[in-house]
Amino acid sequence: MNPVDNLERAIRQFQVTTSIETDRRILDDAFAALEESTPEESAGRGRTMRQIVVFPRVMKFAAMAAVAVVACALLFKALSPKAVELGQVYQALQKAENLCVSTYTDAEAEPIQQVWTSRTLKVVMYKSQTGAQAKFDLFDIPNRLKKTRYLASDTVSTERLAAEQAITLERSISDVFELLPFASMDSAPKGSQWSKVPDEDMEASVPGTQVYDLTWAAEGFSYKRRIFVDAKSDLPKRTEYYFKEKPQDQYKFESMQVAAYPTEKEIKLLIKEIFGPDQDRSGEPGYIGTPEHRPQDTTEKE
């Protein structure tokens, strides 16, 4: 064998790992830097002084206009199919107890990532990579555990979740699962638009849905989220993410997320298949074991 080949392999395999103290120091400083660089996002969205002062003055006229708009809306509502507002989709998502989001790119047959979230069980499970390389990460918030399983090695490793990480995770599962970038048009950037896509063929591609486009611009880029909303539940069944760098460009497809709403029982069963029975999941950090069964194919696709 060529010694240079060995040398190249040795360099490729050469790996230095950070210590826990280093990780803590860097992340603490990086979090502080992030808060400094994105103060409005970190502090929440508050009304500006101008909004507070101007609001009462315009309120009277707005109220009158609102009465007129409501009257018109009631008239049209009787004549046209129910239109769904972004806020309704957001509210429906907030009420969902369990969710599975599978993310696809155009060229790939399998999802590049799947995330199962259960608000009632307070667990989040990620599947990344595909086939034999698949990796499952389970974040069990009540037990403060993170469990990882690589399908190829067929072993499960467990580590303790830091308190801060558990809090962040708990907060994230009460979020809207990343399917919607904004809670309502009021919280979207100025100039954002929510409009129904008048294309019956497109609606037929995901039966029982109405299709809406949410477009917005931020930091010079333009974004479009196409959302297929279930006509009965107002829940998104599919979202497509588009992006363009310049206003004159065509939107480019980036990814697609397919949403399913499993029951708590289904999520428990899936976790059991991958990580073993409940009693194994409550083991101490450092536990390494082999689950009893190989998981079934967990791929979900419409």
Binding site: I11, V16, S19, T22, F31, A33, E178
Partner: protein, 180 residues
């Protein structure tokens, strides 16, 4: 690439968990590149710290045209170059090289590099910086010769030459170390 775009998008909204994900995903690769170039664990960790905090600080301005990994590795390379410029680091002479040095006596840190890795890191440190950088960029950052040439502003043949000479010299150094 796509996952990175999403992480960056979340980061721009101040999502700390996205920042943690980026760190967990790339920290070892970044630290390995820094250690390979600097041959000093303490300085390499400082470079990782500076680059990552600076990344978090300027995340709103970042426009990702390639992968996030390439962006972060390039930032590491630039920071290492700055260190060499400001501290006037020189090529380490053959007799000067010992184990990867550290300004900390932390047992965790001493456990980070095994004996073989120490040997390899020591041998890498004896190479001229440009050869070391080329080897590290190609093998540790998975950059193609064409990308390295563009980054360093030199021709591809020069990059290939540096790579070949660097590997050859590295093999000689390691053979010498083995015979000791």
């Amino acid at each position: 690439m796509l996952e990175d775009q999403r992480l960056l998008w979340r980061l721009k909204r101040g999502d700390k968990e996205a920042l943690r994900s980026v760190y967990e995903k790339y920290k070892d690769n970044m630290l390995t590149v820094a250690t390979s170039l600097l041959h000093d664990a303490g300085s390499a960790e400082d470079v990782l710290h500076d680059v990552f905090v600076s990344f978090a600080m300027s995340v709103r301005k970042i426009e990702l045209h390639s992968s996030l990994r390439k962006y972060l590795i390039t930032s590491i390379i630039n920071r290492v170059r700055d260190r060499f410029r400001t501290k006037k680091h020189h090529i380490v002479e053959l007799d000067e090289v010992g184990p990867v040095s550290s300004d900390s006596e932390s047992p965790e840190r001493s456990a980070i590099l095994g004996e073989e890795a120490q040997l390899l890191a020591g041998a890498l440190a004896r190479l001229p910086l440009e050869q070391r950088e080329t080897i590290v960029l190609h093998l540790k950052a998975d950059m193609k010769f064409k990308q390295i040439a563009k980054m360093q502003g030199i021709s591809i043949s020069t990059v290939q030459g540096r790579y070949r000479y660097g590997l050859s010299k590295l093999r000689t150094i390691l053979n010498g170390e083995m015979k000791k």
